[in-house]
Symmetry: C2
Subunit: 158 residues, 2 copies
């Protein structure tokens, strides 16, 4: 597919974390015909999983060599990267597939995609808050054990 130069734009001062995608592809566009095992090495996913992603529609059709072997592009790598991020949010694979379908449907699905992403964003914020709460609990317990464990005042669940 048409190589769209480098996506790495500084995109200055996005909210708080960092800024732009520091995407560095293993090979430049045009030479990006990765075998499945290369993608395995890059992404940490298994070949099984990569084929499965394709089967369920989480990845649109992957280019093939003249003998039918998969050849992944930089674009595919980007997508896998994004999917990895979504996966970390706990989003079910089925929802990711829906997003992928929206992408395939074209520009008229921009609004739906945006809504999906925003709802995901809310989920992520919630999860971060929960984790920080959990962190507080852990710190309390750790400091309890840290106190040699002999001042066992008030701790219930040990």
């Amino acid at each position: 597919m048409q190589s769209t130069a480098e996506t790495t734009r500084p995109n200055a001062s996005r909210t708080d974390i960092c800024s732009a995608p520091p995407r560095r592809h293993p090979r430049p566009d045009g030479q990006d015909h990765y075998t499945i095992s290369e993608v395995v090495a890059f992404t940490g996913l298994t070949a099984h999983t990569l084929r499965w992603y394709e089967r369920i529609g989480l990845m649109s059709h992957i280019d093939r060599s003249h003998t039918g072997q998969r050849r992944y592009s930089n674009r595919d790598l980007d997508w896998l990267d994004f999917v990895g991020k979504l996966r970390m949010t706990g989003m079910p694979v089925a929802d990711m597939v829906r997003y992928a379908e929206l992408v395939r449907e074209g520009e008229n699905t921009y609004l739906d995609r945006r809504e999906l992403l925003e709802s995901t964003r809310r989920d992520v914020l919630t999860r971060i808050a929960e984790l920080q709460d959990t962190l507080a609990v852990l710190d309390r317990k750790i400091s309890f054990y840290g106190d040699a464990g002999r001042a066992r005042e008030g701790e219930r669940t040990r």
Copy 2:
């Protein structure tokens, strides 16, 4: 079924670290003999799950009524609360069971428990960082869609 007040705690301004558990039990110690369905209402877990937790050793033996029905205590509620927190960290149930076993083994396992909690704490910090990273990616994409979607400069995975 008897509706025991409201469980909805405002959870007032949990700073972040330390301080004591703001536990508010449905009934005071001494009257804490909750049926399984009461615990279902308090925790949001299903009765199936509660019994399963007990079977796999995630909860130590629960008190029984004279006819053999479960009667949960405030202590059990605290434990379930903590388990809920651990669950949110993504800790496998098997690891929680190990922790529960350490608790049952007594005070000589303080060190192991502390180590387990500290390793969990590190996991939580990692996950928070990952989620914040994900948040940045989502924000980038959302702002892309936010720009009416017509300035489609550079966005690759859409």
